[in-house]
């Protein structure tokens, strides 16, 4: 199976460890992973801030780069949701604007074969025990787009529960948004910060060492709040937990 890693621009630039973890994990599970160098950004920030037309060239580029792979795997619930939920909508809007089917047709091939990492593991590879070892207490925060747009459900928690040495603690108010929300974090920084603080306090109340999520942009906000509040907890992407083994422990 020819699988492409769509790492996302945020992870590529700021969280290369997550990318390395995905490569390590998928390789361990026998997947031949490629990282097409032409990839950049799915266009989510543009789209969600009201710049749909600026997002279109990025979406077309995404399709050009990834269309020939059998599967596209991304360690980001929100970027995965951008492709799966919003690329079709962009095509519809272009059609409604009298621009024909070109955009919809260009984007259609990548939509059904784009998977968020935990979806790919559970649904495509059919594994929940990935042979990981992570001797820490962890609480899991389901990020909004993974939870509600992609419907990841209990997949991430099933994967975490199968990790050797890991103790999973339930997060109170888990389904509540952390307050990141892309440009929301700066446009409405007071509300965003209040939401982040509440999320961090809930995480602290579990007594876990690690808050885990499947989206580094949310973790950037939560983690930045954690260090500012001097909590001693740390944010870790789920890929890094699942990639960790007794021979090569991570995070």
């Amino acid at each position: 199976m020819r699988v492409a890693l769509f790492l996302t621009c945020v992870n590529d630039t700021l969280y290369p460890d997550t990318g390395r973890a995905v490569v390590k994990l998928l390789t361990r599970l026998g997947v031949d992973v490629d990282f097409p160098m032409g990839q950049t950004c799915c266009g989510q920030a543009h789209y969600n801030t009201g710049y749909r037309h600026e997002a279109e060239p990025l979406a077309r580029q995404f399709s050009d780069v990834f269309r020939d792979y059998e599967a596209i795997v991304t360690p980001s619930g929100s970027c995965g949701a951008m492709v799966r939920e919003l690329y079709p909508r962009m095509g519809e809007r272009a059609r409604a604007e009298g621009r024909g089917d070109t955009l919809a047709r260009t984007l259609a091939p990548v939509v059904p074969k784009t998977y968020e990492l935990t979806e790919f593991l559970v649904d495509v590879l059919g594994v929940t025990d990935v042979g990981a070892y992570y001797p820490h207490t962890v609480t899991y925060h389901p990020t909004c787009h993974g939870l509600r747009s992609l419907g990841l459900g209990d997949r991430p928690r099933r994967l975490l529960k199968a990790v050797k040495g890991l103790e999973l603690r339930e997060l109170p108010g888990a389904d509540e948004c952390c307050g990141f929300g892309g440009t929301f974090a700066v446009k409405n920084s007071d509300v965003s910060a209040a939401m982040g603080t509440d999320k961090v306090h809930n995480a602290e109340s579990t007594g876990a060492e690690v808050l885990c999520a499947a989206d580094n942009s949310c973790l950037m906000h939560i983690g930045g709040t954690m260090t500012r509040l001097r909590t001693g907890m740390r944010p870790v992407h789920i890929a890094e937990i699942l990639a960790s083994t007794e021979e090569e422990p991570l995070g």
């Binding site: 630039t13 990282f35 950049t40 789209y47 060239p57 580029q61 990141f180 920084s189 910060a193």
Partner: protein
Amino acid sequence: MSETFVGMPAFPPPAFPAFPKAAREAVNNPTLRGNLRHATHTIRAKRARAVAEVSDWAALREAGKQIKDHTLRHLDRYLVQLEESVTRAGGTVHWAADADEANRIVADLVKATGEREVVKVKSMATQEIGLNEALEAEGIHAYETDLAELIVQLGKDRPSHILVPAIHRNRGEIRDIFAREMSAWGRPAPEGLTDTPAELAEAARLHLREKFLRAKVGISGANFMVAETGTLVVVESEGNGRMCLTLPETLISVVGIEKIVPTWQDLEVFLQTLPRSSTAERMNPYTSMWTGTTDAETADGPRTFHLVLLDNGRTDTLADEVGRQALRCIRCSACLNVCPVFERAGGHAYGSVYPGPIGAILSPQLRGTASEIDASLPYASSLCGACYEVCPVAIDIPEVLVHLRERVTQGGQVTQRGNKVVLKPAKGHAAERAAMRAARWALSRPGALRTGQRLASRTRRLHPRALPGPGKAWTGSRDLPAVPAEPFRDWWQRTHGGKDSGK
């Protein structure tokens, strides 16, 4: 009393500050945060339980959506049918294009009765048009009779929630308002009033009973209007609405044109989804239905009935393909109760009688995006999607928010008062627009992205801990992530260089 009464804010409102500014005050008010957190979490959990016990909830939600979409698509036909049905049943139908026209119609109708007082059923439409204030200007006192609306009116306050307008108040505050203000409006609060719910309810009951028995004119909105029969429906929990709907001789109902359903059978869906979504009740306590004045001779009920059909931006909203779904709203307020932004910012920050997620998509459509508050409302969301998930008529609020963001940043064609006009982009987005364009340029070129990443990595020890300018909005409450020594793509090329497909 009339000197101190300020009523509801005029609509369109006096210049409200942009959402982030108003929200900042609310976020820093611990009493308000506590009141909102307690109230929203309680009702959120109750709603979830009430919905979970309905096995066909998803089908009811879809049915509600389809009934509303069908009705909106054929609104022209159903409105005419409704007018015929109401007229046949002895009512009089009036058409109001905007708030001013509706207020003038109602004021003239009240004046024609010779009365100077009206009792009001809780109604969003009359708040939207600022009816109380308009009546006051004509020397007519409007008394709110819904308990929470009474608290708001006595407190010279603004409603902050669709269903529970005094959600921002706790029991102690309500006691103080009753003790201080009731005497100026009618029967004073009992001596030694405490903040126990039973005593507060009794104080309101005694105060309001006097108004019900005296009033000759009642004013209401309606939750639904049935086109085939001309029946109006008001759904409420207290019974105070029913007092106003049955005791006065004249009833005037002001209702948005989107409140129509074609048939009685359609009510079956909404009378299941509305109570569970709003108050988490299995069955609504007081569901009042009346059809013109046909039963006036045999039963209790007004001898004269006027229906004022209100447009006030609804037809313009209906013209927008993406935004029109907001007109499906049945005002249950489930989206407010589940919204993490509403919970922290409070209802007043939305600068409208429609707060929360639904307000953030309704106000900029009904009022346009010209004002500071209306241009900021589409951004008053993290797009977490909790509102869409709970909406009983499946309004994709995040979709409409993003659509309205596009309208704010890009301008484009909209309908205003029935005319197609081209909006200019809103002010204050020039720098953002340039940044978005630049980002798109760089991200369309993997080489440019890589150059930027390398520059960031090489200068990483020089990066400040706190950012100036707009970046302060991030670093004010959060640390920045450390930039890694090399971006992923450089690592990949070093370690897997030969394998890349070259794309």
